[in-house]
Amino acid sequence: MPEFLKEPLEASPPPGQRADPRQLAVRCRGLRKVYDGRVEAVRGLDLEIPQGECFGLLGPNGAGKTTTIEILEGLLRPTSGEVEVLGERWGRRDHELRQRLGISLQETRLSEKLTVRETIRLFRSFYRRGLDPDATLEMVSLGSKARAQVGKLSGGQRQRLAVACALVGDPDLLFLDEPTTGLDPQSRRQLWEVIRDFGKRGRTVLLTTHYMDEAERLCNRVAIIDRGEIIALGSPAELISSLGGEHVIEFAVQSKGSSMGEPNGREAPAPGALIPAIKELRSVRAARADGSGISLTVEKPHLAIPALLEALQAHGLEIARLATRHASLEDVFVNLTGRHLRDEGNGSN
C-alpha cells in the first residue's frame, strides 16, 4: 500500500502486552509531547477514563489540552508514553477503531457551500453503522436548517453541526475539543443538552474546556491541567471540597470615614498586609489577595463573616464591598496555581 494511504501513525507498538482494559474507554500512561525538540506541551500525563463517564480536561489556554486530546484521538504521535483507546492502541486497527469514535476538533471550517444535510450525509457515509442523518440533525436542533448552506449558519449552529458530524457515526466514545468556546450562553446550554443526552445512553465523553462552569455542570470527573501536567483530578464536588470550604467570600476594605464612593481610600492598607491576620479567623480555610480585594475560602460563612467584621473593626477598617458565593473549579485552579483560568476571568492574575 502506498505510504499516503496508510494511517499516519504507523508506529510499531510492542506486540502483546494489552493490559486488561476493564472497561476503560481511555487509558494513557506517561504521555509526553515535545514540539520541535524544545517545547514540552505535555509532561507525563496519566489518565484512566472508565466507559460511560463524561470526563473533562479543564485548563487555561496553552495548558496542553488540545495536544493531549489529539494524541488520544490518534491525530498526533506522542513523543513518549502509552495510549489505549477502547482497549486498542493506535497504529494497529485504526480503521476499525475510528468506526467507534466521534471527534470534533477545536476548529474545523466545514464547506460553506454545502447544505447542513449534505454535510452530515458526507460524514455519515464514512461509517459502516450510524444514525440517520436527519435524526442526528434533530438531536442537535438543526432539523429546520437541513436545507440551509453551512455558510449561512450562526456560530452556535455551526458548532452544533460539528458535534452532529461527530455523533452521526453513533460512537462509543466522543471527543470534543472546546465545544462551546466563543458561543453565546444559549448556544452553550443547547450543546450541553446534546452532550448530556449522549452520556445518558451510556457512552463516554472526553471534552476539553476552559470554562469551569461547563466542566462543573457536564462532567462526572475533571482533570485540571496546567503546563502539560494534571494538577488535580476528581469529581467537581471532590475538587471543590478539597479547598476545605465550599464558600468564597470576596471583599474589599477602606479606612473608616472614607466616602462610600471611593472604596479604595488613599489610606486603605494593601490587601496583602491583612492576609496573615485574616487567615487565622474562624472557619477561614484560605485567604489571598485578588486584585484590589481579598478572597477567602470559608467553611461556614455565618461564622466567618462576624469574625471578619470584628477583625476589621479592630484594624480601624470597614467593608467597602462584600460578596459570598459557592466555591467553583475556578477557585480550585486559582488555589493550586495562583492564577486564573482565563485571562479575562474576574480579578487580575
Binding site: 502506498p2 505510504e3 499516503f4 494511504l5 496508510k6 499516519p8 484521538e73 490518534g74 491525530l75 480503521h95 476499525e96 475510528r98 468506526q99 469514535l101 471527534i103 476538533l105 476548529e107 474545523t108 471550517r109 466545514l110 464547506s111 457551500k113 454545502l114 449534505e118 450525509r121 458526507l122 460524514f123 455519515r124 457515509s125 464514512f126 461509517y127 459502516r128 453503522r129 450510524g130 440517520d132 448552506q149 458530524c165 457515526g169
Partner: protein, 351 residues
C-alpha cells in the same frame, strides 16, 4: 428510503465526489475562471491578432528634401501609407512602433531606417524597397503568381484555441487539486476527515474523479465555442481530442496534487502554483509557437506537459493527426503524471 442494508445506503466515494461537484458549481468565481475567462481571452486575442484583409505598411519620410518624390512614388501604390513628418518625430514614431520603416531620400539615393530584429520591419523594408525600385524602372525577371490562403485552420484564432484548451487543462488540474486541497488543509477539514474512518484512497479517487468529471462540460463548452463561435476546425477525431484532454487532465491533476502535498497556507500554494504555471504560460506554446525560443531551450520546452498537450491538440485539431501519431506527446504527459503521483503519495501531509 428503506433501511434494509444500511451499509449500502451511503457510499463515501459518491458523497465525496458529489461534495466536490456541489462546491464547484455553487462557486460563481470558479465558473467564471473555467468557462467565461477562456472565452474572454479568445475574443480579446482573436480581435487583437485577427487576420487583416490587407496589411498596410506605414512608411515615414522626413519632411524636406526628397519628400515630394516619395509622395509621387507611393501615391498609386496599394498597401502603403506614407506620412511626412519632421525627421525627429519620424524616428520617435519608428521607435514606438507607429511606423514600420522610415525612408530618407537624398538626391537619387535612398536610405532605410528600421529595426532589423523585428521580423515584420525587415519585411516592410523589403516591400518599400521593391516599390521604390519598381518606380525607378526595375522589372521582375521571372513571372510569378500568388495564391491567397484564407481557409479556417490557418488563422491565429485557430492556432490560439487549442492553446487555450491546454491552458484550461493546466489551470483546472493545478487549481482543482492544488488549491482546493490546501484550502481543505487550512480549514482543518483534511484533519477532520483523518479523524473519521474515511478511506484515504476514497478521498484521492474522489478528488481525481471529480476533476475528470469537470473536464467533460469544460471541453464540450470550449470546443463548442471554438467550432461554432470561431469556426476553428477539428480535423482529427473528437475521440482523439477527448483522449488527449483526459491524459493531460490526469497529468496536471497529478502536478496539482504534488504542489499541494505540504503547503499549509493559501499564500504558499498560490506562490507554488504561479511558480509552476508561469513558465508554462510563457514557454508552452499557448499564445505563440514554441519555435520562437532559441534552439538551446527547445529540449526543455518540448518536455513540458503544457507543450505536449498543445502540440498534440493542434496536431489533431488543425492537421487531422491520429491519436497514435501523438504517442510521444502522450508519453510526456503520462510521465509527468506518474512522477507527480508517486512523489505526492510519499510526501502528502494531512494535517
Amino acid at each position: 428510503m428503506a433501511q434494509i442494508d444500511p451499509s449500502r445506503e451511503y457510499s463515501p466515494l459518491r458523497e465525496l465526489i458529489f461534495t466536490r461537484l456541489r462546491e464547484f458549481f455553487r462557486e460563481p468565481e470558479a465558473i467564471f475562471w473555467v468557462y467565461i475567462f477562456p472565452v474572454f481571452l479568445a475574443v480579446g486575442l482573436g480581435v487583437a491578432f485577427r487576420s487583416q484583409p490587407q496589411q498596410v505598411i506605414k512608411v515615414g519620410a522626413a519632411s524636406g528634401e526628397g519628400a515630394e518624390r516619395l509622395v509621387e512614388i507611393f501615391r498609386d501604390q496599394a498597401g502603403f501609407q506614407l506620412q511626412i513628418l519632421p525627421a525627429e518625430e519620424c524616428r520617435k514614431d519608428l521607435a514606438r512602433g507607429r511606423l514600420d520603416v522610415m525612408v530618407e531620400a537624398k538626391g537619387k539615393e535612398y536610405r532605410y531606417v528600421f529595426d532589423p530584429t523585428r521580423l515584420e520591419n525587415a519585411y516592410c523594408r523589403d516591400r518599400v524597397n521593391r516599390a521604390i525600385q519598381r518606380a525607378a524602372g526595375a522589372a521582375d525577371p521571372v513571372p510569378v503568381e500568388d495564391e491567397h490562403l484564407s481557409e479556417p485552420g490557418t488563422r491565429y484564432i485557430d492556432f490560439l484555441f487549442p492553446g487555450l484548451i491546454g491552458m484550461n487543462l493546466m489551470g483546472g488540474g493545478l487549481y482543482g487539486m492544488g488549491y482546493v486541497i490546501v484550502d481543505m488543509r487550512v480549514r482543518k477539514l483534511l484533519k477532520r476527515f483523518l479523524a473519521t474512518p474515511m478511506r484515504r484512497s476514497d478521498f484521492f479517487i474522489a478528488m481525481l474523479s471529480s476533476r475528470l468529471l469537470f473536464l467533460i462540460p469544460e471541453m464540450l463548452f470550449l470546443l463548442a465555442v471554438a467550432c461554432l463561435g470561431f469556426g476553428v476546425p477539428v480535423r482529427g477525431s473528437m475521440l482523439a481530442v477527448g483522449s488527449i484532454a483526459l491524459v493531460s487532465a490526469l497529468s496536471f491533476a497529478g502536478l496539482g496534487l504534488l504542489v499541494a502535498t505540504r503547503a499549509r497556507k493559501l499564500e504558499t500554494i498560490s506562490g507554488l502554483m504561479n511558480l509552476v504555471m508561469l513558465p508554462m504560460w510563457l514557454l508552452g506554446g499557448i499564445f505563440f509557437t514554441t519555435g520562437r525560443f532559441p534552439e538551446a531551450m527547445q529540449p526543455l520546452i518540448q518536455a513540458l506537459p503544457i507543450t505536449a498537450t498543445n502540440n498534440a491538440l493542434r496536431a489533431v485539431m488543425l492537421e487531422g493527426a491520429t491519436l497514435a501519431s501523438q504517442l510521444h506527446e502522450l508519453g510526456i504527459m503520462l510521465g509527468w503524471g506518474l512522477v507527480s503521483y508517486l512523489l505526492s503519495f510519499r510526501l502528502f501531509r494531512w494535517i
